[in-house]
Symmetry: C2
Subunit: 231 residues, 2 copies
């Protein structure tokens, strides 16, 4: 399996390339529009055909590259049915298995940061989007965010994965690239060490975060698979 963690520095966004060497087919998780040329070069250099782009959610901080990749490469865009991105080609729900070549993922609905958030689970790793971050979590003050729901998603749908499962998040602002379920259960500052739902909600309510600078442009664009703002 080909596996690359890609970092977009302006918004500290992680995207992930998964490739099946046997069938030369690939998946991109959370592609960023500004990185389009890099993705195409990378896919070409690895001789991979992009089949699906998987969105963990409708992003508020960057514009998805899914629509442009569909135009350029014919890939299909995958998103949760509740995400409000009816531009997508494939609308998924909790528990749905997806396969591309020998790559096998399962959709896990993990709402709370947004109501359409999903994590993508593989045998040994999980892509958590902005639900579970390394040492933290997504914010819950926009996009139908709900701190209690996010707590339930993380503890019920992610902390129940095998402890050594690798955690690959949608963002990191501190240079972390990977964690494990066990590590987050122990050390996550917002809900590790057995913090209660009430403690988690209080922490999230107390964050006093600035209004996301890009949200008013990013949301409508991403509800159109990134194609509106790109013209």
């Amino acid at each position: 399996m080909i596996f690359k963690q890609l970092f977009e520095t302006e918004t500290s966004t992680y995207s992930y390339l998964l490739g099946c060497e046997r069938t030369q087919r690939a998946i991109l998780i959370d592609p960023v529009a500004s990185e389009l040329d890099d993705y195409i070069d990378l896919l070409n250099s690895l001789n991979l055909k992009l089949i699906y782009t998987l969105e963990t959610h409708v992003h508020a901080d960057h514009i998805t590259g899914s629509g442009l990749l569909r135009q350029k490469l014919g890939s299909k865009s995958v998103v949760h049915r509740d995400a409000g991105a009816m531009c997508a080609d494939l609308l998924v729900t909790d528990g749905v298995p997806l396969q591309v070549g020998d790559l096998e993922l399962e959709v896990r609905h993990t709402p709370g940061h947004t109501n359409g958030c999903v994590s993508y689970v593989m045998a040994d790793r999980v892509f958590t989007g902005d639900a579970l971050l390394i040492g933290g979590s997504g914010r819950t003050d926009f996009q139908q965010g709900d701190a209690g729901q996010l707590y339930d998603s993380i503890t019920g749908k992610l902390f129940t994965l095998p402890p050594d499962t690798l955690v690959y998040p949608g963002h990191d602002y501190n240079g972390n690239t990977v964690s494990t379920i066990k590590q987050e259960m122990a050390k996550n500052t917002r809900l590790g060490g057995g913090k209660s739902r009430e403690e988690f909600i209080a922490i999230l309510q107390d964050l006093k975060l600035a209004y996301p600078k890009f949200i008013d442009k990013a949301l409508p664009a991403n509800q159109s698979c990134g194609l509106i703002a790109q013209g």
Copy 2:
């Protein structure tokens, strides 16, 4: 590849079992609720795990087994986004590739019999549901049916497949089991031999078919993946 054409005699409905021997995974196309036990026995005897049930459309004449199979076997239900069956787990659109083990299908949107009709295309065969039937076509007087649209779907999306593509329909009332694209282009009584769109529309308008005896029960049931009428 394991391949079985299954026939439900009361409504003359064809269902199809596709199995990947390498991975022991399976797909059922258009399962019928009354045949549930037979499907489970068949899957067990072949040692296959059912991953997806694929609906070609929301049926008016029989009740889908997709919801019951999901309950019993954990399979996920696939349907077109416009079919109005929000009970489904995976909502698809034109051109989406789906893979289960080594089984590879592509969704082709072929509306006209209903607005959410799809055909499922494999390398050498196509499952046409009630869009293209052997020697005929689906009716277009219910469920947002549109004869002109059905003509466009069949000629634009199915007659453009390789001529030797095997045609497996959703029903047959005359004992036919399989046809080819070439054969339907030549011999189909409603649009073969180069019949025009206007001729096709006139033929469909002139059918004077009886009101489908089961439609008032089947439609609401199938919009719930067959689970309402089953209790």
